[in-house]
Every structure is written in structure tokens, then in C-alpha cells.
């Protein structure tokens, strides 16, 4: 490889670099000023010109697409002038920061974010708030200090408990289980896992959680982690995968291996993705909420915040369109609804 071919071009390169630096600085100053202006305009908020932007963990993720579909529908219904979706293509901790900064500069009124890392996005969100933006966290919370409200699918504890209940039923109440999660620092998964561990210790003394592994929400990695679990724990009776990518990858592996039907699998999955595995007997039951409602409520919460109807304090209430009234609970958390359990009988009723 000719890595350093252009050795003679040093001086010219330096000149170009200087030029680029100057241009960039000018551009930054210009956009910075513009952002300040429109930010303060937006803050005072002429009705009907409010803007909302959704920043998911990762674009082109099928689950996220359903959430965002509900979000855009909600944004329309709530009366936002425009709604946008921006975000990174990979779900890494720092990848969302530049998108938040861009929204701050654009003077967006409401930023709805699913944090890849609760703290990494904080300083950028603080800056957006000081520019007048309202911050709604959804799906995966940020540090509570950096947002106004958090829209939670369901009570975190309920999500955890339904999964431990399902696995306990499927393995007959005793034996070894493992958890195959998303990234090691995913806020929501870690919270569920914490509740699962508590629930297992308290209510299922015969079930032993032998391992927690992380597939990073990547098909290939989750696949190999599932294989590793089967080899490392030959007596494993069940796997909980509280992430849609993980459960689908694990199901694919189990369904193509000798472990099909012998090792139980449950967790959180998308009906469309899990349908073949429910029909071929790899998976008997799994759970999820309706993701579209999550985005829908987030949009209405954003509207209520931007209009000044609520501040995110405990006890505030707002209308969430067709879904009716929602109340802000402790720590600024708004709950959308209970989880649904899918099995061979009802899975065809859902299309997401």
C-alpha cells in the first residue's frame, strides 16, 4: 500500500490545511450566531412553528423504525410544524453527540432522544436546554438531570418480571439460565437485568443465572455469543434476551442447531421477526410493548413541555391524543402501557 506517496506535497498540504481550518472556523462562528438567534426565537415559541426532532439509538433498526413511525404520527397529531429524525448508524456511546449539537444550532424546540449512554450525551443536552430546547428521553433514559421527562415503555420492573416469569414457566421452574443482552452499558437492558436478578433471587430459588453476555445488538456477534453459551454451559436450560436483535439471532442459531426445542428462549422481540421461530417451535412465548405508542406519547409530552403546560414535575398530566391522559411520575418518568405477551395463537394479530 502506498500510504505515504505524496511526500513532496508537504507545503501545499499545509496551505490547504490552514485554509480548511480558517474556513471551518468562519463557518462555525456563522452557524453559531445563527443558532443563537433562532434558538431564542424558538424558545419564546410562536405556536404552530414548533419543531421536534427524534434522535434514536441507531437509524435503520427495525424496532426503532416502529417507534419513530409512532413518533411522527404523534408529532403530527400534537401540532408540531415539522418533525425530523436524525441519528447515528451505529449504537455507540458518543455517536449521538454531534446530532444533538446540530439540533441545538438549528434551534429545535423539542429533542426526543433514546440514549446510547446515559452520561455521554449529557453535556450536549445541557447545552441544548440552555438554548431553550425541551428534552424528552424515550426508550432508553439519559441521566435524569439532563432531560425534562422520560417516556418509559412500561414500568421497568414489569418488563423484567414478565421475562423471568416466562422463562420460569418454559424451563419448569428450575435449572440454569443465561442472559444475552445488547451492549454492556445499555441503560434499559441493564436496569431490566438488575430487576431480573432481584426477582430470580427472591422468587425463583431453583433457577440459577449463570452468565450475562453481550451481543452488542449485532447479528453476527449475538449469534456467536449464543453458541458460546451453549458450549460453556452444557446444562443450560434457557436464555433470556431482552433485546430484539439478540433474541432473533439466538432464535436463528437455536433453530438451525441441535439445541432447537431443548433450550428455551424468551425475551423481548418483534412479532414480525420472531414469527417463524414461534411457528417452528424454537420459541414458545416472548414479550414486548407496542413500540409505536412510545413514540406517540413522547411527541405529546414534548408538545406539552414546549407549550409550558407541564414542567416535568411529578404529578403533571398531559393529553396524549388517542391514548388519553398520561401522568408524570417520580423522577419525571411517564409510563406508556403494560407489556404484551406473544405466542403462536396471537402473533398473527400484530404487524410490527
Amino acid at each position: 500500500m502506498e500510504l505515504f506517496r505524496n511526500r513532496a506535497g508537504g507545503r501545499r498540504a499545509r496551505r490547504i490545511a490552514t485554509f480548511a481550518a480558517v474556513t471551518a472556523t468562519v463557518a462555525l462562528i456563522a452557524t453559531g450566531c445563527a443558532a443563537g438567534d433562532s434558538g431564542s426565537d424558538g424558545g419564546s415559541g410562536a405556536d404552530g412553528s414548533q419543531t421536534i426532532t427524534f434522535i434514536p439509538k441507531q437509524l435503520n433498526n427495525p424496532y426503532t423504525d416502529v417507534v419513530l413511525g409512532g413518533g411522527e404520527e404523534g408529532a403530527d397529531a400534537a401540532g408540531f410544524a415539522s418533525s425530523e429524525v436524525v441519528g447515528p448508524l451505529d449504537a455507540s456511546a458518543s455517536s449521538q453527540v454531534s446530532f444533538i449539537n446540530a439540533e441545538t444550532q438549528a434551534g429545535t424546540n423539542v429533542i426526543v432522544i433514546a440514549a446510547n449512554d446515559p452520561d455521554a450525551v449529557c453535556s450536549a443536552l445541557e447545552e441544548a436546554r440552555s438554548g431553550g430546547a425541551k428534552i424528552v428521553a424515550f426508550d432508553s433514559d439519559t441521566n435524569p438531570d439532563c432531560r425534562d421527562v422520560f417516556i418509559s415503555q412500561v414500568v421497568a420492573k414489569d418488563v423484567a418480571l414478565i421475562q423471568t416469569k416466562l422463562i420460569a414457566e418454559q424451563i419448569g421452574g428450575s435449572g440454569q439460565i443465561a442472559i444475552l443482552s445488547a451492549t454492556a452499558n445499555a441503560t434499559n437492558q441493564n436496569e431490566w437485568i438488575k430487576y431480573m436478578e432481584e426477582d430470580l433471587a427472591a422468587n425463583y430459588p431453583d433457577i440459577e443465572l449463570v452468565a450475562k453476555v453481550y451481543g452488542d445488538d449485532d447479528d453476527t456477534k449475538s449469534f456467536q455469543e449464543a453458541q458460546g453459551l451453549m458450549q460453556a454451559y452444557p446444562d443450560l436450560k434457557g436464555i433470556i434476551s431482552p433485546t430484539t436483535v439478540g433474541i432473533a439471532a439466538t432464535a436463528r442459531y437455536l433453530s438451525t442447531s441441535e439445541y432447537k426445542g431443548k433450550v428455551a428462549l424468551t425475551g423481548l422481540g418483534l412479532p414480525n421477526e420472531m414469527r417463524p421461530f414461534v411457528k417452528d417451535g424454537t420459541v414458545t412465548e416472548f414479550a414486548l410493548w407496542d413500540p409505536a405508542q412510545l413514540g406517540y406519547v413522547a411527541a405529546f409530552a414534548g408538545k406539552a413541555l414546549a407549550d409550558g403546560d407541564i414542567t416535568g414535575a411529578e404529578g403533571d398530566t398531559f393529553e396524549a391524543g388517542d391514548l388519553g391522559e398520561r401522568e408524570v411520575g417520580a423522577d419525571g418518568i411517564v409510563i406508556v402501557g403494560p407489556p404484551t405477551v406473544f405466542d403462536a395463537d396471537n402473533i398473527d394479530d400484530y404487524d410490527f
Binding site: M1, N60, T220, G228, Q231, A232
Partner: protein
């Protein structure tokens, strides 16, 4: 995998002198490139097996072979390109595009015959590889930069094309998915396919004029040109073949894994280059073999499985891969220093 001594025009050495240095000693140096990888692989498998016998259970062995399959094909293609002193960083994106294309084909034309899908996938991959080849040979910009560009362009295309759409194993015919489940004489069908690729490419690289030309180009592009080797055409072909193999890998990916979408194959390129380098393909071109690259691919994928089977934290895995890359480079350096010294001695004797 017993290609112990590829024929003479050897690493960093002009052919005539190499012959004078004596075949047997040269064989030793050549073997040095693949032997450590093969040795490391055997040690790894044996140690893991001792710690956890399930590692080599029928299912475990099948998983090991299947895990390596796609990486073997990619590493072989990458080795061809690296041997010419180039690199192709866009293979992950090519694989992603072809894998998603495969999913779309089955979804759009439900009854499409599987061989046709393979042909389309191969042609699509070759087209994308040929674009790389054209840009590299015509623009005369280092391949590192060109393929870094096409990495993002191809990834952008797949994001624009796929959006949030994903195709699942369910959308594809069962016979297609079964390619990566069924075995023949204990070997998964697609692994046999990968082995065939290794053998064919190894024979072409070692035994044909075109293959030897690639080594000459990688050793010294200017000398190769003076010697009358059509450098541009050969490099273009190397990229096109690499694209073709990445296309094959993409179709197989769709057969093996559940979902194909916009992010399929993301970040794969560095693993592929690492596999080739660990397998003894010198990053500055001119030496190494596709068998070595294939062994490197098997070694790297097996490490992941071995660490999982031994319950080692997977965060160690990346550090271990890094150590292997450094070891491969040190071995390469030692080998070329020894070659140089021997050549000096033998030439001095001749004077």
C-alpha cells in the same frame, strides 16, 4: 491446507538469486509464514478442547467451521489484493449490499432459482469490486484512500436502498437457508464451497502466469512494469476477483444469518485485513499465500468461539487479536531480514 512451499519467486527476493540460495532453505523460510498460524490454531483448539470437551462436539465443530466460512472467503479475496501491494477496505460494505440484494431478490421474486441468486450476487460483487479496481488503476491514488471512499459510498448506498427494511430468514426459501445447516461428510455445505475457493485461488496464485505476476507487482511495481507485466490490468483483476468473492460471502451471509439490512457487514473490513495479516500475507505486498490468509481467518474466528467456550470475558478477544497481528508482523520482519542476510552471503560467495 498443506501448501508448504509455493514455487520459487519468493518474498522480497528476485527469482534467479533465490534459486541459487537453495530450494530447501527457502522452503523453510516460506513455511515460516503459514506454519506459526497453523500451529497456533492447533494449540488453541487442543487447549480449548481440553478445557471444555464440548468445543469439539459435532455441533461445536460444525459451528466452528460455519463461523469461519464467510471470513475465509473474504480473507482469500483480500489476500489477492494485498499481495499486489493494495488493500480493499470496502469488502464489508460490498458484503452488506450483496446480502441485502439477496434478501430483496427472494422477497421480490419468490420463485427465483437459488443458482440464479448466486450468479447475480457474484456478478453484483464483482461489479462493485471492479469499480474499486478501475478507480485504483485509473486515478492512481493509493487503494487505501479509494476503498476507504467506496467503503462509505457503498454503505451509503445500502442505507439509502434498505432504509429500515430488513429481510429475515423466513423470507427466503428453506433450501437456501439449509445450505448453511446441511452437512456433507460431516462438513457444512458452504464450508466445502469455501474450501473449494481456497484451493482454486491457491492453484491460480501459485501456478499461473497471472498469479505470479501479482506477486511481482507487489514486490516491486516499477520493476514489474519494466518487465512488461500489465500492472494495471492485473491489479484491476485482483480487485474484481476480490469483489466477486465478497459477493459470494454476501450471498452466504444471507443464507446463514437471520436478518440482512442496511448495517449488515458493518466494520467487517478490519477483521478481514487482520485475518490476512495474521495469516502471513505481508501488508506491503509481494508475499504470503491465500492458504495462510484462510488459516488466519479460521484462527481469528476460532479465538472468539474458544474464549466463549472457556468462559473468558470477550473483551479480551480484541487484545488477543492485536497481539497476533503484532506477532505476525514481527515474524514477517524476521523472515525478511534472514532472507536478506542469506542473499548477501550467497551473492558474496558467488563473486
Amino acid at each position: 491446507m498443506t501448501q508448504t512451499a509455493p514455487p520459487s519467486p519468493a518474498p522480497n527476493a528476485p527469482a534467479p538469486t533465490a534459486r541459487r540460495a537453495g530450494r530447501s532453505r527457502f522452503g523453510g523460510i516460506l513455511r515460516l509464514r503459514e506454519l506459526p498460524v497453523a500451529f497456533a490454531l492447533i494449540v488453541l483448539v487442543v487447549v480449548t478442547y481440553a478445557a471444555n470437551p464440548l468445543f469439539l462436539s459435532p455441533q461445536g465443530t460444525k459451528d466452528l467451521l460455519l463461523n469461519s466460512t464467510i471470513m475465509i472467503i473474504l480473507a482469500v479475496g483480500q489476500a489477492i489484493v494485498i499481495i499486489t501491494r493494495n488493500v480493499d477496505l470496502s469488502v464489508g460494505s460490498i458484503l452488506g449490499l450483496v446480502a441485502f440484494g439477496t434478501g430483496s431478490l427472494f422477497a421480490t421474486f419468490p420463485g427465483i432459482p437459488i443458482p440464479v441468486v448466486f450468479l447475480i450476487g457474484l456478478a453484483f460483487g464483482m461489479l462493485l469490486g471492479a469499480i474499486n479496481g478501475l478507480l485504483v488503476t485509473i486515478a492512481k491514488v493509493p487503494a487505501l484512500v479509494i476503498t476507504l471512499g467506496t467503503l462509505y459510498i457503498y454503505r451509503g448506498l445500502s442505507n439509502a436502498w434498505a432504509g429500515g427494511t430488513q429481510y429475515f430468514a423466513d423470507d427466503r426459501p428453506e433450501a437456501f437457508g439449509n445450505l448453511s445447516v446441511d452437512t456433507f461428510l460431516g462438513f457444512p455445505v458452504i464450508t466445502l464451497l469455501a474450501l473449494a475457493v481456497v484451493v482454486i485461488v491457491a492453484v491460480v496464485m501459485a501456478g499461473t502466469r497471472g498469479g505470479r505476476d501479482l506477486y511481482a507487482i507487489g514486490s516491486d511495481p516499477d520493476a514489474a512494469k519494466l518487465f512488461g507485466i500489465p500492472v494495471g490490468r492485473r491489479v484491476f483483476t485482483a480487485f474484481a476477483v476480490n469483489g466477486l468473492l465478497a459477493g459470494l460471502a454476501g450471498v452466504l451471509y444471507a443464507s446463514r444469518f437471520n436478518s440482512v439490512g442496511a448495517t449488515t457487514g458493518n466494520g467487517l473490513e478490519l477483521d478481514v485485513v487482520a485475518a490476512a495479516v495474521v495469516g502471513g500475507v505481508a501488508i506491503f505486498g509481494g508475499s504470503g499465500s491465500v492458504v495462510g490468509a484462510a488459516l488466519g481467518a479460521v484462527l481469528l474466528t476460532t479465538i472468539t468461539s474458544a474464549l466463549a467456550a472457556m468462559r473468558v470475558d470477550k473483551f479480551w478477544q480484541q487484545a488477543i487479536v492485536g497481539v497476533l497481528i503484532l506477532a505476525a508482523i514481527i515474524i514477517d520482519r524476521v523472515a525478511s531480514l534472514r532472507t536478506a542476510r542469506r542473499l548477501r552471503i550467497s551473492e558474496a560467495r558467488d563473486v
